[in-house]
């Protein structure tokens, strides 16, 4: 039998740190694209161990797991400890669609007092703490790439983007970060 395949992330070896800003690719996580009608939410919430949020621009987090509201019937569920999220949902008989996208997305952490400023180089959303407080999440754009942006701290954001866009997203972030 062949040896087990090695995992290689799209941003292997990339990182940037400058005054007031750090860009760090996040380690592998498991992810689920979850689609479901309202009637299924309680069953799915129970299976996932967190309450799926139902308000725009919000997220629910519990431990290593979080669910980001992306649309009226759509969530991005992330587990940083790589739990098998699809398996958790498989036991739910209530109507839903759960698709594993653990490898489709890759995450970049943008941290530091300049995080908001650096994201402003490509994201047209208002990211000030009053409009985009800690815990806020939104599908948006960064330059020419679609991203999901999640504020995980006063000065910390998590960007989720598709694997092949991560080089572009990271490079644009770094360009903006170097401008200080």
């Amino acid at each position: 039998m062949a040896e087990i395949a090695r995992r290689m992330s799209a941003l292997e070896g990339r990182a940037y740190e400058g005054p007031g800003i750090a860009l760090t690719p996040d380690p592998p996580a498991s992810r689920l694209s979850l689609r479901a009608p309202e009637a299924s939410l309680s069953a799915l919430s129970k299976a996932l161990g967190l309450t799926l949020p139902d308000k725009p621009k919000t997220a629910a987090a519990d431990g290593s797991r979080a669910a980001l509201w992306l649309g009226p019937d759509e969530w991005l569920v992330i587990d940083e400890e790589c739990a098998d999220l699809a398996a958790l949902c498989a036991s739910v008989s209530a109507l839903h669609s759960a698709v594993d996208i653990s490898h489709r997305n890759t995450a970049i952490l943008v941290t530091g007092e300049r995080a908001e400023d650096v994201l402003g180089a490509g994201c047209p959303q208002d990211l000030s703490p009053t409009r985009f407080p800690v815990g806020a999440a939104s599908r948006t754009v960064f330059g020419k790439a679609e991203i999901v942006l999640w504020r995980i701290g006063e000065e910390a954001f998590r960007i989720e983007c598709w694997r092949s866009f991560s080089d572009y997203v990271f490079s644009l972030l770094e360009k903006a970060a170097r401008e200080a």
């Binding site: 039998m1 062949a2 040896e3 087990i4 395949a5 090695r6 995992r7 290689m8 992330s9 799209a10 592998p28 694209s33 689609r35 019937d73 109507l95 669609s97 759960a98 698709v99 594993d100 996208i101 653990s102 490898h103 489709r104 997305n105 400023d117 402003g120 180089a121 490509g122 994201c123 047209p124 959303q125 208002d126 000030s128 409009r131 330059g143 020419k144 790439a145 598709w162 694997r163 092949s164 866009f165 080089d167 572009y168 490079s171 644009l172 360009k175 903006a176 170097r178 401008e179």
Partner: protein
């Protein structure tokens, strides 16, 4: 390097901060804080350029952004040569090198000035009338000559090495303009707790307080208050103060474009630092505090160097400490020029005379001027000026007749009044209203959430302007929803000895109708009062036509000093009031904006995302040549041992059919269709039947548009009753998902099904060829690969190299084939394992070119290559893929249109050239008879054409009228060197019986 016109007792610059610069190669000294214009004037240099059309010597008209004349080139290094920089806004730095423009061989002696002697020929509409005939002369004679003569400055000839930046920003209140009113508005808005952005184009805010030395605010001199207030604002957490930042565009929904200049004022900018930053600001409320722009007087020969705006002379004196002359004459039709005369006189500059067009000017200014001993010539006009490269004499005459006088002067400062800078207001689509009493356009009806304050709103007194701005700033904060109740509107006592008025517009005596005088309205485009009149005489009625006929207001300054003059002259000629003649449209940008600023980060690698597969690095290391497919980089072919493309592709094609080939198909679009109604949805989106497709089986699907034409295709695997793994073409991935989502949401919202893009979840490795099973087998766990257990067109889930995989038994080559899908992060590692196994069987890696050839050998179409949006399944020979019993799918009615069912449509066929070595050109047209007269009747075209190593000859696919009924017919492909004879054949060139999929 003395600065003979720098006055030790005037200005705010530090005399110790000496800076050296050159102008046309001559070294000069200036002071830190100077603009290029103020430094030139300190050295007595007034002649800085030649005019656009007549090449007349020109000097410095203004001290700000409105400058039409003093345009120079700034040459930092060979790659950084910026043309048409306004000397009045370019901050001086040590080593600055400026060059004059539009002159040859030198600024003082310019051959082009002959145009000035020929001025009668170059009047309005000259280009339109002169270069009409003969027609043939246009291309060879007129256009090259005009192109050489046209334009100011020289464009840089190297790529721009500078960096540019972009920021999106949001605020409650955006204040544009940091003069007294803007500062006050920002103060009030930020006091109320609003998030405020204040943008000012100058290095130091203060606006006209720069020269208004009679202003007092809050008990302090105006300028001092401005600097303290700016510092106070900058220190507030809720305020972003942007200096050197011009608000240039006002767009929909309170989106404004600002450009911040970051390095153009520095002697040695950090090469990492951006030169400019574009701010795209979304503001809840906008306060426009854009001020007013002084107009010149329109009189004969009003363009000589040394003739400038009165406010500019005051700015040079009061801020920069520079006297614009030793003996200065003043010409005015309003009060504000008196202050210039008084300031100059008080600093020891001789005032030759103050010529006032008004018969009996009165007021404190007039009295003060007279008291200082200034000769006020009321009811007089300047009828002309003299001096070749600089004014040295001013001719004056009483308006109502009387003896003329010739007055010696080395500078003439003029003012005909102030035009509110309503550019941004107008860009916001606000309606301007003409104020009869003051004869000026003012903001009227607003259509966006904005308010104008201060001089830009026609509020002339400093005290009134500040009161208005404070009130507006507080109100804007409140309207923006800032809840802080403490909103105490600051109270600022302000006053000034200044009074700005609207003055007069249009031509002054000496430049009336019938006079031949060169009385310039628009300096930059060399438009005179006479030109405007001529335009009206020749039938132009609308100001828009007058503008285009004369080009008035169409230069880079957009007529900031000239538009009202032109309008007034046109309205006099037409005998209609100004509002009826109308005002030309204000368009962004307010001042010129570099392309770099607009492009921002989007250059080079960041111009567009470059998408690479997980296996890209391996392909690169193995010498792949890549091709662009949409945003993707795909391995095109893998040359080895010095092979050219032809040799590499021939080898790859041979190897796949002899043993096996490995291909990175990761870019294929993938969509997971999940839900109890998944099969019903698939039935609606594809022509094929899906309900009865067994779990674990695959089907080639065709998707149509509503009109019945092929939109996309791909293999679909059924993973479960309620789950399909759909593949799309690489280029079609995003639009197919949108197409499906669009129908799901608008046409079939009752279906319980969801779509998720999984294109990037999976790395896809195709292993094709007779040895493919032998290569894959050792890596696979939990899947029986026998033909019985896993026949062609099936899909299994299991493990490959120990990781979860979806294994497809499918073939785009006609060979036995597998496509291994593994989670993307494992793609490279699994590829390497497959490669190692492949090595044992003589397999090769192949690229997209070989993929194309192999599928063409089998007659498999590529959507977008063999189809062009007008091809039906039947045309493509794919009628079998339409579920005949189906009653509905997208495109079913389109397929029934008479044109789509008519016989003789273009149908996909194979072509064989009679000479097997001849490879047709893709796109080449096909005719039945090559000897027919031109234009020939084209009956089709070649869609795919290759050298087929496996067939030992060229092969081609083509769309040909009635093609399926032409088998064996001889057709012709006319090319430049003769027609190529071809035979119509079936589309399958290799393994016609299709036995190799199990081979």
């Amino acid at each position: 390097m003395t600065q003979p016109f720098r006055l030790p007792t005037a200005g705010r610059l530090d005399a110790a901060g000496t800076v050296s610069f050159t102008f046309d190669g001559k070294a000069h000294a200036g002071l830190a804080g100077d603009t290029l214009a103020s430094a030139l004037l300190a050295n007595g240099v007034h002649l800085v350029g030649r005019s656009f059309k007549y090449h007349r010597p020109r000097g410095i008209l203004s001290a700000g952004a409105e400058e039409p004349n003093a345009l120079v080139g700034i040459h930092r290094d060979p790659a950084r040569k910026t043309p048409n920089v306004r000397a009045t806004v370019q901050e001086l730095y040590d080593g600055l090198a400026a060059v004059s423009q539009n002159r040859w061989p030198s600024l003082a002696f310019d051959v082009g000035a002959l145009n000035d002697l020929g001025a009668p020929f170059f009047s309005a509409g000259f280009y339109y009338k002169t270069f009409m005939w003969p027609r043939a002369a246009w291309e060879r004679l007129y256009e090259p000559v005009i192109r050489r003569a046209a334009g100011l400055g020289t464009a840089p000839d190297q790529p721009d090495p500078d960096r540019y930046s972009n920021r999106f920003a949001h605020c409650d209140v955006l204040v544009v303009g940091g003069g007294a009113a803007g500062l006050a508005a920002a103060l009030a808005a930020s006091e109320a707790g609003a998030r405020v952005i204040l943008a000012d184009e100058q290095a130091e805010p203060g606006g006209s307080l720069r020269f208004e030395d009679g202003a007092f605010i809050d008990g302090k001199p105006g300028w001092e208050w401005a600097q303290q207030t700016a510092a106070q604002l900058a220190a507030r957490d809720n305020v972003r103060l942007l200096t050197r930042t011009t608000g240039f565009g006002y767009y929909a929904q309170n989106m404004l474009g600002l450009v911040e200049c970051l390095t153009d004022h520095l002697a040695a900018p950090d090469p990492e630092a951006p030169r400019e930053r574009l701010w795209q600001v979304r503001a809840k409320r906008v306060v426009l505090a854009t001020g007013a722009i002084e107009r010149h007087m329109v009189f004969p020969d009003n363009d000589r160097p040394g003739i400038m705006l009165a406010s500019a002379a005051r700015a040079y004196l009061n801020h920069f400490g520079v006297a614009v002359g030793r003996r200065v004459a003043v010409y005015t039709a309003d009060d504000s020029a008196y202050a210039a005369a008084i300031d100059l006189k008080e600093k020891g500059v001789e005032i030759a005379a103050l010529v006032d067009l008004r018969p009996a000017p009165q007021g404190a200014h007039v009295d003060e001027a007279r008291a200082l001993g200034i000769e006020v010539l009321a009811g007089h006009a300047v009828t002309g000026t003299e001096g070749r490269l600089r004014v040295h004499r001013v001719n004056v005459a009483p308006v109502n007749g009387g003896a003329p006088r010739r007055i010696e002067a080395d500078a003439l400062v003029t003012s005909s009044g102030w035009t509110p800078a309503v550019h941004l207001f107008s860009q916001s689509r606000g309606k301007l209203a003409f104020n009869e009493a003051t004869q000026r356009f003012l903001p009227g009806q607003y259509v966006q959430d904005a308010v104008s304050v201060g001089a830009g709103n026609g509020t002339t007194g400093l005290g009134e302007a500040i009161a208005e701005a404070l009130q507006a700033g507080g109100k804007a904060a409140k309207e923006a929803g800032v809840s802080k109740a403490r909103a105490k509107v600051p109270n600022l006592e302000a006053g000034s000895t200044e009074r700005w008025s609207s003055g007069m517009a249009g031509a002054a005596p000496g430049a009336e109708a019938g006079r031949k005088a060169m009385a310039f309205v628009d300096f930059q485009n060399d438009v005179t009062a006479k030109d405007i009149r001529q335009a009206v005489q020749e039938g132009m009625r609308s100001i828009e036509h007058v503008k285009r006929f004369t080009t008035t207001g169409m230069a880079t300054d957009q007529g900031k000093t000239s538009n009202l003059h032109a309008l007034t002259i046109a309205s006099e000629m037409l005998g209609k009031p100004i509002p009826e003649v109308g005002l030309t449209t204000f368009r962004p940008p307010y001042t010129p904006v570099t392309f770099g600023a607009l492009v921002g980060h989007g250059r080079g690698a960041l111009f567009e995302p470059t998408r690479r597969t997980p296996i890209h690095a391996w392909a690169e290391a193995h010498g792949a040549v890549f091709e662009d497919v949409g945003q993707w980089k795909r391995a095109w072919y893998f040359p080895s041992g010095g092979e050219d493309m032809h040799a590499a592709v021939a080898r790859e094609c041979r190897t796949v059919r002899q043993s096996a080939g490995i291909f990175d198909a990761s870019t294929l679009g993938k969509i997971e269709v999940v839900g109890p109604d998944a099969a019903r949805f698939m039935e609606l989106m594809y022509t094929n039947p899906w309900q009865k497709l067994a779990v674990g089986r695959c089907r080639y699907g065709i998707m149509l548009r509503e009109d019945g034409f092929i939109y996309d295709d791909g293999v679909v695997g059924r993973l479960a009753e309620d789950r399909f793994h759909v593949t799309t073409t690489t280029g079609g991935a995003p639009r197919v998902l949108h197409h499906m989502e669009d129908y799901l949401q608008t046409e079939f919202p009752d279906l319980k099904v969801w779509l998720t893009s999984t294109s990037e979840q999976w790395a896809t490795i195709a292993v094709q060829g007779p040895k493919s099973r032998d290569i894959v087998a050792p890596l696979v766990e939990g899947i029986d690969l026998s033909d019985e257990a896993m026949p062609h067109m099936s899909v299994r889930e299991g493990r490959v190299c120990g990781v979860p995989a979806r294994l497809f038994r499918i073939s785009f080559t006609g060979e036995r084939g597998f496509e291994i899908n593994v989670p993307a992060d494992y793609g490279l590692s699994v590829w390497e394992a497959v490669w190692a196994e492949g090595g044992k069987h003589g397999a090769c890696a192949y690229g997209t070119e070989t993929m194309h050839v192999l599928r063409a050998e089998k007659g498999f179409i590529i959507v977008g290559q063999d189809t062009d949006g007008t091809v039906t399944p039947d045309d493509a020979g794919l009628a079998w893929a339409i579920g005949r019993k189906k009653t509905d799918f997208v495109g079913i009615r389109g397929l029934k249109r008479p044109d789509l069912t008519a016989p003789g449509r273009r149908q996909l066929v194979g072509l064989k050239t009679f000479d097997p070595k001849t490879v047709l050109e893709e796109g080449a047209q096909i005719v039945a008879d090559p000897n027919q007269p031109v234009p020939m009747k084209m009956i089709g075209f070649v869609t795919s054409s290759y050298w087929s190593e496996n067939c030992g000859r060229s092969i081609a696919l083509a769309l040909v009228e009635n093609g399926s009924h032409r088998m064996g017919e001889r057709l012709h492909v006319p090319m430049e060197d003769g027609a190529i004879e071809v035979e119509v054949v079936p589309t399958v060139f290799f393994d016609e019986k299709g036995e190799r999929t199990n081979g």
